[in-house]
Symmetry: C2
Subunit: 374 residues, 2 copies
C-alpha cells in the first residue's frame, strides 16, 4: 500500500494505492452512517460485487446504478440521482462512493457536490483513465447538448482509493486511452521524464499492477506540479488542457467511435503542427512530440474521418475555454507548446488565439498525411 496526500492549494485529500479492498477506507468514515455506491451499467459485475460486499461489511450501503453512455452524463441524470438518493435515505451523514470510470466519477461527483450543497465523496476508480486523470482534479462536470463538460463545479473528494488489481484487466485500448493523457503530461509538463517514460511504455499497452502504479506516479507528479498553486486549473493548470480543445470537439463529432485519449492524441498532433506552422515549436521538438504519441501505438488508423473533422467545427466554436481571452468569431483559443514542457504564453495567458481555418487545414493535412515530419 502507498499513500499520497494530494495538495491543490488549500485543498488536500489522500490518494491510496492498494491491491484489493482494504479496511483503511474505514478511517475516512468516522462521521458517516451510510454509504451510497454509485456506478454505471458499464462497470464489470465482478468489480461491483467485490466492492458492494466489502462496503456493506463496513457500513450500511445502498447501490445505485445508472445507464452507461456519454448521453447520460447530464444534469438530468444528476437530478434523477439526487431524487433517488433522498428516496433511499441520503442525508448529511451519507458518503457517496463512486465506483467506475471517469464518467461515473464526474456524475457522482456532481451529485456529491450539489446534494445538500455537498456531502462526502470517495472515488474508487476502476479504469486507468479515471485513476490517473479525472480523480486528480477538483473539476466535476456534465455535458450540455452544446458540448462536453460545459456545466460543473469544483469539489474535493474525501479519499481516492485505487485498487490497482482492478486496472490490470482493462483492455489494451482503454489502457492506451489513459496513457495518451500521461503522454500529454510528459510533453507539456515533465519533459525531463520523457526518456524514462519511453522505456516504460510499450505499444501492446499491457502492464502489471506495479507498472500501472508507476505510470500513475508520473501523473500525480505532473498534476501536482501545476495544480499546487492553481487548484481551479485556470492559470498554470490550463496546460493540462493541451490537446483538449480540438480533442473534445473531435470526440463529440466522432459520436463514440473514438475514445477521449485518442481524440486528445489527435488534438496534440494538430496543436503541435499549428505551433510549428506559426513558428513557435521547433522541428526537432515536433518530431520527439509525435514519436512519443506513436510509441504507444497511435497510427493513421486512429485519425478521425474528414466528415468527423467537419462536424467538429461547431463544437470547437463552443469550447468551454472560450472567453478566457477575447477572441473573434473565427478564432479558437488553443494551448500551444513553444518547447516541450513550455506553453506559449501571451502576457499571463496560456491561450493562443488561432484561426479556425488554420486548425481545420492542419487537421486535414494530418489525415491526408501531407507534409508529415515523421
Amino acid at each position: 500500500m502507498k499513500k499520497y496526500t494530494i495538495e491543490f492549494c488549500d485543498y488536500k485529500y489522500d490518494y491510496i494505492y492498494s491491491k484489493g479492498p482494504s479496511l483503511i477506507i474505514k478511517d475516512y468514515l468516522s462521521e458517516i452512517d451510510k454509504l451510497i455506491m454509485i456506478s454505471d451499467s458499464g462497470v464489470p459485475k465482478e468489480i461491483l460485487e467485490i466492492y458492494s460486499s466489502f462496503l456493506m461489511g463496513i457500513r450500511e450501503t445502498e447501490i445505485v446504478i445508472f445507464p452507461e453512455g456519454e448521453v447520460n452524463k447530464s444534469l438530468l441524470t444528476v437530478a434523477n440521482l439526487c431524487e433517488e438518493l433522498i428516496e433511499i435515505g441520503a442525508d448529511r451523514r451519507t458518503a457517496i462512493v463512486a465506483v467506475g470510470g471517469g464518467l461515473v466519477g464526474n456524475v457522482a461527483g456532481m451529485v456529491a457536490a450539489l446534494l445538500y450543497r455537498g456531502i462526502p465523496l470517495i472515488h474508487i476508480p476502476t479504469t486507468l483513465m479515471a485513476a490517473s486523470d479525472s480523480v486528480l482534479s477538483l473539476k466535476q462536470a456534465v455535458n450540455l447538448q452544446h458540448g462536453k463538460n460545459l456545466v460543473g463545479t469544483f469539489y474535493k473528494p474525501s479519499l481516492v482509493y485505487v485498487d490497482s488489481l482492478l486496472l490490470v484487466d482493462q483492455d489494451p485500448r482503454s489502457i492506451r486511452n489513459a496513457i495518451f493523457e500521461l503522454v500529454k503530461n510528459a510533453l507539456a509538463i515533465i519533459p525531463e521524464d520523457i526518456r524514462v517514460l519511453s522505456n516504460l511504455l510499450n505499444s501492446t499497452n499491457r502492464y502489471s499492477s506495479n507498472q500501472l502504479e508507476s505510470l500513475i506516479d508520473y501523473c500525480i507528479k505532473a498534476k501536482s506540479k501545476v495544480m499546487k498553486f492553481d487548484a481551479y486549473e485556470q492559470k498554470d493548470g490550463v496546460v493540462l488542457e493541451y490537446g483538449h480543445t480540438i480533442g473534445h470537439a473531435i470526440e463529440l463529432a466522432a459520436e463514440g467511435r473514438l475514445m477521449h485519449g485518442e481524440s486528445v492524441a489527435f488534438g496534440m498532433l494538430v496543436a503541435a503542427r499549428v505551433s510549428y506552422h506559426l513558428g513557435f515549436l521547433k522541428g526537432e521538438d515536433l518530431i520527439t512530440h509525435n514519436k512519443m504519441i506513436n510509441l504507444i501505438g497511435y497510427d493513421n488508423k486512429d485519425h478521425p474521418t474528414l466528415s468527423e473533422v467537419e462536424n467538429s467545427i461547431k463544437y470547437l466554436k463552443n469550447d468551454n475555454k472560450k472567453g478566457y481571452v477575447s477572441s473573434s468569431q473565427n478564432e479558437i483559443g488553443l494551448v500551444l507548446l513553444e518547447r516541450l514542457g513550455e506553453v506559449k504564453k501571451k502576457g499571463s495567458s496560456f491561450i493562443t488565439n488561432v484561426s479556425l481555418e488554420l486548425i481545420v487545414d492542419e487537421m486535414i493535412k494530418i489525415i491526408k498525411q501531407e507534409e508529415v515530419l515523421i
Copy 2:
C-alpha cells in the same frame, strides 16, 4: 449611495444601495464583454425596461426570461438556461445579471455557478426579501421533487446592487414577507436591536426607501455577525435557519398559499413553543418573541390549515438539515432558542433533535389557539 463590503470568511463582495440605476456598476465590468440579464415572468415590466436599457447602454446585453413559479426553481430550468445562454453566445467573459426576487437570484446564481464552472454574477434584487436575505448569502439552490433547496452550491456574486426605489412599490404583504426574516434575525442574532426595531416597524408594512435601507442595514449587521467566520452557514450560521425547518415544510405543504416569510413566522412560533415546552425558553422571552412577530401584522388568519400541517410532515422528514446530527426516524433537527439571541446548543451543534409528535402537537395547538401565552 452607500457601499458595504460584505465579508464572509475569505469571500468578499460589494453591496451597494442607490436610488435608480448608477454607472458605478461599470466599475465591476472591467473583464466583461457581454451581459446576460436573467429574470422571470413575475418581475414587473417597468423594472425590466429600466434595467435592460440601462445595461444595454454600458455593454452588449441579452435578456432571458424564464416562467415564474416555484415549480421552475429546478435543475431542469438551470439546464435549459445554460443551453440557452450558450446559444446566445455566453462565454467566460460574460456576466450574468440577475434582476428579480429570491427565486431569480437562486436560479441565475446556479447558472452562474455551474456554467463553465463559474462565470461572474451581479444581483439586482427587486424585492425586499431578495435584497435583505438571499443576496446576503453564498448559498444557491434549487428544489427537488422531495423538497426545497435540496440541491445547490456556494457561490459569491461580484456585486449586489440594490435600487431602493424598486423596493418601495412592493405590495405590503411582500414587504412583510421579508420583514419576518428581519424579525428572525433580531430574535435570534441581534436581540439588542429589538427595541429600536419595534419603533421602526409597523403593521401597515409601508416604508420609504430610506426606511427600507435602514431595515436592510440590520440584516447586513446580523448576517455579517454570524457569517464572518462561517461563510457556509454550517456552524454558527445555522442560526439563520431559525424557524426554517418547519417554515419550509409548511411553505411546501401550502403549495403557494403562504409566502416564505409567513411560513417561517409560523415556524418560529412553533419552535419557540417547543423550546418553552422543553424548558429552554422562559415565558417572558416567549412573550417578547411572539409580540415581535405580531407587531408586523401576523395574526391567526396567517396560520396554515390543519391539512397543510398534515401534508408538511413528509417534507419535515426530508429537511435539508437532516444528518447534521444523528437522528432517529421520528426526530426532526430544529434550531431552538434558549434565550433571545442565544441558540440552544448541544456540544458544538446548533441543532436540537425534537420528536415529530411534539412538533405536530404544538402546531395544532397554535392553530386551535390553545394555551397561547399572548
